[in-house]
């Protein structure tokens, strides 16, 4: 057997490690360990000169094992594997000791921290002794991309990828793409009309030769892994012949069955057969089966739409016989852009939402100011009175431990936008009740200043309640906003005609299920968790699955678009490479010991092992393209036939026994 010659490299990480751990003492200690031929310390091992030290030693000292003690392996293990490979060694002849997150960051006592660092380095040295050369493999990547969610994030990502002549499947749950942005009237701080900047993009998506749009559809199941995902999509029955519908909307005009319009945030009605809004893409009607009397009566009642539809798109057949369809797709990468829900402020009873007619959420006010909305852009009370004064309440459900602890990032700015529109369109007196104004984006602070010039009254205080109980003549018939003016140190009561609650953005109510389908974790706040908050913000821990927009955290349109383009860039970079490197540290079966019991098959989340018959006996066989090296099969294997390469018994036990040495 060849002589094991190990090099150990201790990183200072500036003062992050060196400020707590005595790196000189640690280096000296490392050199005393068996099989260590050199030990060095350096201020930043990850820098080029730091990496060069390793490469040089491999050549000059004939190293065949390398240990770096630095930060988390999540951060720099790939860096140093690459270094080792560049130096001429197999990248798996490397071991990483984490003396930052596991030591210097969490301990104050320098002496004990140094001792712990020694333990961690000793364990790494003993472990790397057993490491073996492993070979990674490349498989081809399916260049098709699946994008989930047809809001601004999903549309932007789909367009970027499709413009590079790559096939995109865009799946949208609602009957039309557009998302929340389609409901907005104007966008801060430029005040350009949301529709004007959004609908051309919607059209582009609808007509793009490389985008296949699946609206009114939901992903039910995803299997496989990066490069080779298999996806089942449920295309819900529209009860319309999509190929024949011309979007004339006659059916909706005559349909007698009404319910609240989702698009109009409940401020107007839609019918049982409907097109969600005028600019919908695709411009095809959809039948709400729960509301349609014809469907509910099994063809005995109504049927008005059938008679009216000249195009023959609605027939007894489509209404009664059309069923959901399962579409199977094969893609190499997935971008999840499922957006957010608006917080329901009726859980804060003292704000009177749903109790008082003229207490509205932001989305409701968007529809009021929109020319195409229920009031045709007139700011009036529910009973049609002009609005002379408006209260705008910030942080409703945000920055509040009782609801959501996080800041929703957009409310300060959309609150200012409402103030401007209230001034411009209704010449109303505006009172903005805020705690802190957060105007951090491009042109945002300037917009805040502009609103001050326009004469908005800013009141610093979290609103305690909204009431209609008047105490003075002036308050009669008004809604009274009660708060402390914290800058005056006095309670104030402001009578207004309308109150807008700047409701928080929250994670989708079904985010947990969506997360399960795509194997994405969620943070405590319910939003999807990115792989690294700063350095890998659109990736997820699942390779090949990316996230963009408000499904990851509340954000405004510019940030959402930037994220969507980032996610598209990630997908494009994979497509450009064309192959996927498979992890070498995967499970391996000793067929001589394996009984073929199938427990590995049951436990595996990636369907990698399969029990097959070989030479007349049952044995487990691992699909290397699917195996992630998670180790579950090795744990459940009753005979010990399954091992995980790079995590073998010898390797793990050497590390553990080194740690338990005095």
């Amino acid at each position: 057997m060849e002589e094991i010659r190990t090099g150990v490299y201790i990183c200072h990480c500036g003062l992050t490690i060196a400020g707590v751990v005595n790196v000189e003492e640690l280096t000296e200690y490392a050199e005393s360990l068996p099989n260590v031929v050199v030990s060095r310390e350096y201020r930043y091992m990850c820098s080029d000169p730091g990496q060069d030290l390793i490469k040089k030693d491999i050549k000059e000292l004939g190293l065949n094992r390398v240990v770096v003690a630095s930060c988390s392996p999540r951060m720099h293990e790939p860096t140093f594997r690459k270094t080792v490979e560049d130096g001429g060694l197999n990248p798996y002849l490397y071991e990483h000791a984490n003396i930052r997150e596991h030591c210097s960051w969490v301990h104050d006592d320098k002496e004990l921290a140094t001792k712990k660092s020694k333990d961690l380095v000793r364990a790494a040295v003993k472990r790397v002794f057993h490491h073996e050369s492993l070979v990674t493999r490349e498989i081809p990547l399916n260049p098709n991309v699946l994008v989930i969610g047809g809001g601004i994030a999903g549309m932007q990502a789909a367009l970027d990828i499709a413009d590079g002549h790559n096939k995109v499947y865009l799946v949208e749950r609602d009957p039309s793409i557009g998302g929340h942005m389609a409901q907005l009237d104007r966008t801060f701080p430029t005040l350009d009309c949301s529709e004007c900047i959004l609908t051309p993009k919607m059209g582009d998506v609808g007509h793009h030769p490389f985008i296949e749009l699946l609206t009114y559809s939901e992903v039910e199941e995803v299997s496989g892994s990066i490069g080779d995902f298999k996806v089942k999509v449920r295309k819900k029955a529209r009860h319309i012949d999509e190929s024949k519908c011309i979007g004339c909307n006659l059916c909706e005009e005559k349909c007698p069955w009404k319910t609240d319009s989702e698009f109009e945030a409940g401020m107007a009605k839609r019918k049982a057969v409907y097109i969600p809004f005028a600019q919908a893409i695709p411009n095809i009607a959809v039948v709400d089966a729960d509301l349609c009397a014809y469907i509910q009566s099994d063809g005995k009642k109504c049927g008005a739409c059938i008679k009216l539809c000249d195009a023959g798109a609605i027939t007894p057949e489509t209404l009664l016989k059309q069923t959901d369809e399962i579409v199977e797709l094969e893609v190499g990468t997935i971008i999840v852009a499922t957006g957010y829900d608006q917080f329901d402020p009726s859980v804060i009873p003292q704000y009177g939402y749903k109790k008082y007619d003229n207490v509205l959420t932001g989305l409701e006010f968007e529809r009021i100011t929109c020319a195409a909305g229920p009031t045709e852009g007139k700011i009036v009370t529910k009973d049609g009175r002009p609005v002379e004064s408006i209260g705008i309440v910030h942080c409703v459900g945000s920055r509040d431990e009782n609801y959501h602890e996080y800041c929703s990032r957009v409310c300060c700015m959309y609150g200012l936008k409402y103030a401007h529109l209230s001034k411009e369109m209704a010449n109303a007196d505006v009172y903005e009740f805020y705690i802190d104004m957060r105007c951090f984006g491009e042109g945002y602070e300037e917009f805040y200043k502009r609103l001050s010039e326009e004469g908005v009254n800013f009141v610093r205080g979290k609103v305690a309640r909204i009431t209609d109980e008047a105490q003075t003549d002036e308050e009669q018939g008004k809604l009274i906003v009660v708060s402390e003016d914290t800058l005056l140190g006095k309670m104030i009561r402001v009578p207004v005609d309308m109150v807008i609650l700047c409701s928080a953005l929250e994670a989708r109510s079904d985010a947990e299920n969506v997360g399960k389908v795509f194997n994405i974790n969620r943070r405590a706040d319910g939003f999807f968790l990115e792989r690294h908050v700063k350095l890998d913000p659109v990736a997820t821990p699942t390779d090949g699955v990316y996230i963009a927009g408000c499904c990851e955290a509340p954000r405004d349109i510019p940030d959402t678009v930037a994220q969507a383009e980032a996610a598209a860039g990630k997908a494009l970079s994979l497509i450009s490479k064309g192959t996927v490197t498979l992890e070498a540290a995967i499970s391996t079966v000793d067929e001589a010991i394996c009984h073929g019991c199938g427990r590995c098959e049951e436990i595996c989340a990636f369907s990698a092992p399969n029990v097959v018959t070989k030479n007349g006996t049952l044995v487990s066989s691992v699909n290397e393209a699917l195996c992630k090296g998670c180790g579950s099969c090795a744990v459940v294997c009753p005979t010990g036939a399954i091992a995980i390469k790079h995590f073998t018994q010898d390797e793990i036990l050497a590390q553990v026994s080194a740690l338990t040495e005095a």
Binding site: C395, R399, E401, I435, K462, A464, E484
Partner: protein
């Protein structure tokens, strides 16, 4: 020009006295807006937090003693600040270090409690005299339940009915219960909130020793204040008991079918949630269940009931201090009850009984409205 410099020492005094939560306050003012005082007078809770953060607290201000510890602000606070802990810390600083003035009325009650173990200054040996001819037995090891009526029903002639009614119910049901000897002392809840920590510690230790020596396992209480301190504060001092409020006890008996009523009470009854039963301990349903079970009772609800319920004004030591007419919460409540046509204001706390009876009398509504503890109403109907 007056320029403020942060006075760290003053902040430290408050922090050391348990005011740690003040660090979290981000000054939104929701506490001020929620505080019931601001419907009758100005009490800027947020500013007290700010002053404490900056070491600018005016320890001599009467505001130090204003808070009734009703917990309305804490329930709403977006940062989860235990505002009552901060107020208590400021009071502790005044009471223990003499850097401000303890109001006279409070000082007398504190002295009585420290001296004879009850705020009324009554003789300890008379603690169980309320029972009179009911002949309630003394608690002895092996007795199922210790009934601890609170100092107010024990001594105050106007509130003794609460304890006597409870005893009558227990007798009728054949419950094996007893009273602890006359060595018992005030539970200490309110005097602790009023900043007298040493007094509280000594009361608690004395009661815990007494309970433990006597083998107490279950304590039945009439006062939500006793309930709170026995349940939430005694355990960390070594006193672990099952603590049951009378309304919980009765609700359970009614549900099991063990408590039967024989008389009708044809009355419109409105229930006022005691802060220490409701917001402090989330007990809202049991008292209502008991009232609804009484034949003939029509239960009314205040518009701001349960979590939103208005305090009677008696918490945090305010029960011993005078509140000027026009600022009394129990007056507002009594007016509301009268407007709603209630004939009885039902409460489940001796402090509420005191404040409401005072309000009803001083407002001349004694003919129209009675104030009754839930136990008193039950005793009338069995």
């Amino acid at each position: 020009m007056e320029v403020l410099s942060p006075y760290k020492e003053a902040t430290d005094v408050i922090l050391e006295a348990g005011g740690e939560p003040l660090k979290l306050c981000y000054q939104c003012g929701l506490c001020t807006g929620t505080c019931p005082w601001n419907t009758v007078r100005s009490f800027i809770v947020r500013r007290m937090m700010r002053e404490a953060q900056m070491g600018a607290t005016d320890f001599g201000s009467e505001d130090v003693w204003t808070c009734v510890t009703c917990r309305a602000c804490v329930k709403r606070c977006p940062r989860g600040v235990e505002i009552i802990d901060v107020i208590r810390a400021i009071r502790r600083a005044v009471a223990s270090m003499g850097i401000g003035v303890v109001p006279d009325a409070l000082r007398i009650s504190a002295k009585n409690i420290a001296g004879v173990g009850n705020p009324l200054g009554e003789a300890p040996e008379k603690r169980n005299d309320w029972a009179g001819e009911l002949k309630v037995k003394d608690f002895a090891p092996g007795t199922d339940v210790l009934y601890f009526p609170c100092c107010v029903p024990s001594y105050d002639p106007d509130v003794k009915g609460v304890a006597r009614s409870t005893a009558a119910i227990l007798d009728k049901l054949g419950v094996d219960y007893g009273l602890i000897g006359t060595d018992a002392k005030c539970c200490g809840e309110a005097i602790r909130k009023a900043g007298h920590e040493e007094t509280f510690q000594s009361l608690a230790q004395s009661n815990i020793n007494l309970f433990t020596e006597s083998g107490v396992k279950t304590v039945l209480v009439s006062s939500p204040h006793c309930y709170h301190t026995f349940k939430a504060e005694y355990p960390e001092l070594g006193g672990q008991y099952e603590v049951v409020h009378v309304t919980q006890y009765l609700a359970e008996l009614i549900e099991k079918g063990d408590l039967k009523f024989s008389r009708k009470l044809e009355k419109k009854v409105i229930y006022s949630d005691p802060c220490y039963l409701g917001r402090h301990n989330d007990i809202y349903d049991e008292p209502r269940a008991v009232l609804k079970a009484i034949p003939g009772v029509e239960l009314l609800e205040f518009p701001d009931a349960r979590e939103e319920g208005l305090c009677c004004g008696g918490g945090g030591g305010r029960i011993w201090m005078d509140t000027p007419k026009g600022e009394r919460f129990s007056d507002i409540r009594t007016e509301q009850a009268a407007e709603m046509g209630a004939e009885v204001i039902a409460v489940a706390c001796p402090y509420c009984v005191l404040n409401y009876r005072d309000s009803v009398l001083s407002m001349g509504k004694g003919e129209a409205i009675q104030v009754k503890d839930v136990a008193e109403l039950v005793a009338e109907a069995i």
